[in-house]
């Protein structure tokens, strides 16, 4: 036999950075390819219901942006973002009590980029980031990519638990940030009370730790007052991430960061390194929309649609879910967090669910440490109420079959195909 050299199909396989080691193919991620098919009721992706937008309005605005501001729209722009839009963002931020100055606003390509930039600016490899338990999968991906030590902190029915937060701060070194989604949490569907926000802020201040507040859903509440942002109480200790993705259009990819002066300077420079500048065309389109259209009315329309769908989900689950299944009751946003009967593993159950034409996101995706096997996230934002009912009917049947399977074998299964990283939003089309 000769000394034959094999091929690993990638000449750079030994050259990748440590942070890229987890970026591998995943069977679970591949299963989401099926979720995009119309036969499947997808309760997986958090896709805004953009069908509720009047696309003719956007067609008209886009045409006028090009016709009247074409040389600006098609040119590079400011790394910090369009100043007019930054002024307009202050009006939206004021809805959640955030008072700021346009100089402290940085426009980003979705708030996901804001997450990336803030982490890049603050975190060295090995630094600790405290996150809720569970937490947003996209944030976990960012923290992992910067090689942060991600520590989950328990939640209760009011969100992040203050005692657990104190304990985490006392037991972990190099804590750089507390990452929190205080309103209509993704994936848990929970909302922090005002008192809870004050407690969390006080703990952060006592410990000199930055709060990174991710707030894409706060204008999408179904009842009561708009929750006030944590940043409303502290301009210096909180960096605020906002987004137009859930309240106008996710496809335009416009989000924003509101940061204290010193951090803002660094974030702008980091943003310029990453993208030079956000899309002028998208910014001008959003800006005109905000200037010309009754955007608060549009958000009200979204709220009504999502509330109707939330109700459909909760009623269906109440009627159909097998005993032992529990779920959170969101008062806004897109998600409910479902806990399965003991012994069931949502990741292992997913292939069966896909076979039965219903999709969800397994809970393990919302943890950096392998927790969440017994949980899953359901999104009610995209399918209409009738489809949601059908999806829950299918899911309830899948759960019942899984209960039967587990009872037959007396165990839950291992997780041979567990993803190291996956983003359920990527493959949903």
């Amino acid at each position: 036999m000769s000394e034959q050299v094999g091929s690993r199909l990638d000449p750079w396989v030994d050259s990748y950075a440590q942070r890229a080691q987890g970026l591998t193919a995943s069977a679970i991620r591949a299963l989401f390819a099926v979720a995009s098919r119309p036969e499947v009721v997808s309760l997986a992706g958090g896709m805004p219901y953009v069908q509720a937008l009047d696309t003719e309005i956007f067609a008209d605005i886009a045409a006028r942006v090009i016709r009247e501001q074409g040389t600006t729209a098609l040119q590079y722009g400011s790394g910090q973002g369009d100043v007019v839009l930054r002024e307009q963002i202050l009006d939206i931020a004021a809805e959640v009590g955030v008072k700021s100055h346009a100089d402290d606003v940085i426009i980003t390509v979705g708030s996901q980029m804001g997450l990336d930039l803030v982490t890049k600016v603050f975190c060295d490899p090995g630094d600790t980031v405290l996150v809720e338990s569970p937490s947003y999968v996209g944030a976990l991906g960012v923290f992992r990519s910067f090689q942060c030590n991600v520590v989950h902190v328990e939640m209760d029915d009011q969100g992040l638990n203050p005692d657990a937060l104190k304990h985490a701060l006392a037991t972990h070194r190099n804590v750089k940030m507390i990452y929190t989604i205080p309103s209509f949490h993704n994936p848990a569907g929970l909302t922090q009370s005002q008192q809870r926000r004050d407690e969390i802020l006080a703990i952060a201040q006592e410990n000199g730790v930055l709060v990174l507040e991710d707030d894409p859903y706060s204008l999408l509440g179904f009842e009561g007052e708009i929750p006030q942002a944590i940043r409303a109480r502290d301009d210096h200790g909180v960096i605020y991430l906002g987004s137009f993705s859930k309240i106008i259009a996710s496809g335009l990819r416009v989000g924003y960061v509101i940061a204290p002066h010193g951090a803002r300077e660094k974030i702008v420079l980091a943003a310029e390194s990453a993208t030079l500048c956000p899309s002028n065309f998208s910014q001008l389109t959003i800006s005109r929309y905000l200037a010309e259209q009754p955007w608060r009315e549009q958000i009200k329309t979204f709220r009504e649609i999502y509330q109707d769908r939330r109700d459909s989900l909760l009623e269906s689950m109440q009627a159909l879910m097998p005993a032992g299944t529990t779920w959170t009751i969101p008062s806004g946003g897109f998600y409910s967090w479902v806990t399965l009967p003991a012994g069931l593993d949502a990741t292992n159950m997913l292939p069966r669910a896909i076979s039965e034409l219903v999709a969800y996101v397994p809970g393990t995706g919302f943890y950096a440490d392998g927790q969440g096997a017994q949980s899953l996230r359901l999104s009610y934002c995209y399918p209409d109420p009738e489809r949601i009912r059908e999806g829950v009917r299918r899911l309830a049947s899948v759960i019942e079959k899984e209960i039967d399977l587990i009872a037959t074998f007396g165990v839950s299964s291992p997780n041979p195909t567990a993803p190291t990283t996956f983003n359920p939003f990527t493959n949903l089309g």
Partner: protein, 311 residues
């Protein structure tokens, strides 16, 4: 010539199938610039599209059910549409691992049992597992009866590993196969009918960098090392390629197949499975074998498409 490449569908391997279909269609366009190469997902409109467009030939690249279980091929046969690949009947035999394992020479088949989920419920899972493992030697492999890409497959080192492996496998199929695991050189051998003869292409040897050749190792470039042709003696190469051709013939397969087997240290061949719609992605085995034979994917499938139209 109008060739329609069908991929996707609703199986668990949809993502792999879509990638296979795109790659195959692009390869065909390179070698057949004057032909129309169209691509389609398998949807409720597919048969209507086929009836209206009347392609000269269909190439089904659908992995898993519908594509490999014979049903789509059955309908194409009913419509009189030529297609590349095995007949519906042969595909059905190959798709069911229990049937395929029963049809190839038994001295080449690791001992196995196939059982439905209901059987465990009726007779008691522990009793059934005890009975099954009493006749097998660990390690064992537990896998869904159908489907590919190693989805739902678990290696079991002890009796305690079996129940959870069952739960994982039953997520993909309502029957499981419990089979004696075999160690040795893992090989994939593509058989192609060019002209009148079925001939094997150079075997591909698969060496996962870490652990088993699971989904992650299959579709992440860099996580598996491939040797094409496999590092075999001439006689072993002859031995395994003859075996793959015999599998192709015994099961009545047509045009192209990929037989997966293990050659153990004593030179024994152990059949694992045979695929009638093998993957054609960037990390798939058939394109490697085709390339090692000095051919191109477009060239091979272009010839097979032309042959299909003449059947």
């Amino acid at each position: 010539m109008h060739i329609l490449v069908l991929s996707g569908g609703l199986s668990h391997e949809r993502d792999v199938s879509l990638r296979s279909g795109r790659r195959l269609a692009n390869s065909l366009r390179e070698v057949l610039p004057d032909s129309v190469i169209s691509e389609s997902d398998v949807t409720a409109e597919t048969l209507q599209v086929i009836s209206m467009d009347k392609p000269d030939c269909v190439i089904p690249v659908i992995h898993g059910a519908v594509g490999e279980d014979g049903s789509l091929r059955n309908v194409l046969e009913s419509l009189g549409i030529p297609f590349v690949g095995s007949s519906a009947q042969a595909a059905r035999l190959a798709f069911d691992k229990g049937v395929a394992n029963s049809l190839v020479p038994q001295e080449n088949v690791p001992r196995f049992v196939v059982l439905p989920q209901s059987f465990f419920r009726e007779l008691g899972a522990n009793s059934v597992i005890d009975a099954v493992v009493s006749d097998l030697t660990f390690p064992l492999v537990v896998k869904p009866l159908t489907g590919g890409s190693a989805l739902g497959v678990t290696f079991c080192l002890t009796r305690d590993d079996i129940p959870s492996a069952m739960v994982a496998a039953f997520g993909y199929d309502d029957h499981v196969m419990i089979q004696q695991a075999v160690t040795g050189t893992e090989l994939a051998i593509t058989v192609v009918e060019r002209g009148d003869e079925a001939a094997a292409l150079p075997p591909v040897e698969i060496v996962p960098v870490r652990g088993m050749y699971d989904y992650h190792a299959r579709y992440t470039a860099g996580h598996t090392e491939f040797f094409t042709p496999a590092r075999l003696t001439a006689s072993d190469t002859q031995h395994v390629t003859d075996f793959a051709v015999s599998v192709h013939k015994v099961l009545g397969l047509r045009d192209i197949s990929r037989t997966d087997l293990i050659l153990d240290a004593e030179g024994n061949i152990w059949f694992i499975e045979v695929n009638v719609a093998p993957g054609m992605t960037e990390t798939s085995l058939v394109p490697m074998a085709i390339s090692a034979a000095g051919l191109s994917v477009g060239q091979v499938f272009g010839e097979l498409a032309l042959a299909a139209t003449r059947r």
